[in-house]
Amino acid sequence: MTNPQMVMYEEEFNQIQTIVDRVVREANAQVVFIIDKNGQLIAAAGETDQLDTTSLASLTAGNIAATGGIAKLLRENEFSTQFHEGERANIHIQLVGNRVILVVIFDNKTSLGLVRLRVKKASEELNSIFEALLSKVQDPHQNTPFAEITDDDIDNLFND
């Protein structure tokens, strides 16, 4: 059985966004974002204007996937944390509940220790939100907007 479809509703999104906003503030980070393991961006906060978040999401997911592959070869379950240190920017990547990825980008205005502390707390909270979301999604045929679309709707998309 592969992963079920990911669906995001307003209620859960708001909860997630609150956490992401808080991590930016409390960790004194530049950017915080959450993506799923397939590279889809779920939420972002901080100075995202200058960033290509779509590309970042896809590359981070690729990174996590590659690291997961290495872990498997070493008979490890996962390497759930990654940290890359640059000259100006640092990036902390945390796998949450083996399902989503919490990414924190920060500079020298804060410290790795503080980032780790905030990430740890946020991870626990995020994990329970995504678990709840999953059980909601697994409810079979919970009215997806796509149940009502017609073949014509799909055809129209390509009539350009």
């Binding site: 059985m1 393991k37 397939n38 690729g62 996937a65 997806t144 907007p145 009502e148 998309l157 390509f158």
Partner: protein
């Protein structure tokens, strides 16, 4: 595994271009990238070696338009075609919603095509997918090369199921968008059925 976001009213799907080394997967994406309006595409990322062979993947985010108020976004990925990058190929198939199998029409590459198709089946099965149930199309690329196999022969070898298939010359763009539209349509039709590959 598509991602439906009710808040931003978006639906995101993942399409993977698969096929043997040098069959033109990256060229397909490059052509799509070059011919798409800037507002409908994101940056194309290529993780390639110094000799421009795909090392991990190429990535191109595309917006295709709206269906019933939902923006449809497709994330196109290629896999590295070379045989020894199998571990990376498996990773990229995770969460796939649709596959484009790009075959190299040249007679000399027939075995490589078959091997890659077999590899696709194996790697999908490892993730719990079956190619027969996953939306997919086949592209017979490089039709402009001197010694190509007839399409009927390619079809009988690679497409016994009779999924939508297309002749293409990715370098000039022939067949590239037809292939993309066909797979996108299959993916959306699958979503409509309430399935999704996952």
């Amino acid at each position: 595994m598509s991602f439906i976001n009710y808040l931003s009213r978006e639906i995101n799907c993942k399409i993977v271009y698969y096929g043997p080394g040098l069959c033109g997967k990256t060229t397909n994406l490059q052509y799509i990238y070059n011919k798409t309006n800037p507002e409908a595409k994101g940056k194309m990322i290529s993780l390639a070696t110094e000799t421009e062979r795909t090392l991990f993947f190429d990535f191109l985010p595309l917006a295709l338009g709206e269906i019933r108020g939902f923006k449809t976004r497709f994330h196109l990925y290629t896999v590295p075609g070379q045989v020894f990058y199998d571990a990376s190929r498996k990773l990229i198939l995770k969460g796939v919603d649709g596959v484009v199998f790009v075959a190299d029409s040249q007679i000399a590459r027939m075995e490589a095509n078959l091997e890659s198709m077999e590899n696709l089946r194996t790697n999908l099965a490892e993730q719990g997918y079956s190619l027969d149930k996953l939306p997919h199309v086949i592209q017979y690329n490089k039709r402009d090369m001197p010694s190509v196999a007839p399409v009927d022969e390619l079809r009988s070898l690679l497409n016994p199921q009779g999924v939508p298939d297309f002749e293409a010359i990715a370098t000039s763009g022939e067949g590239v968008f037809d292939t993309l539209k066909a797979v996108a349509k299959l993916v959306l039709t699958e979503l409509k059925r309430g399935g999704g590959a996952g």
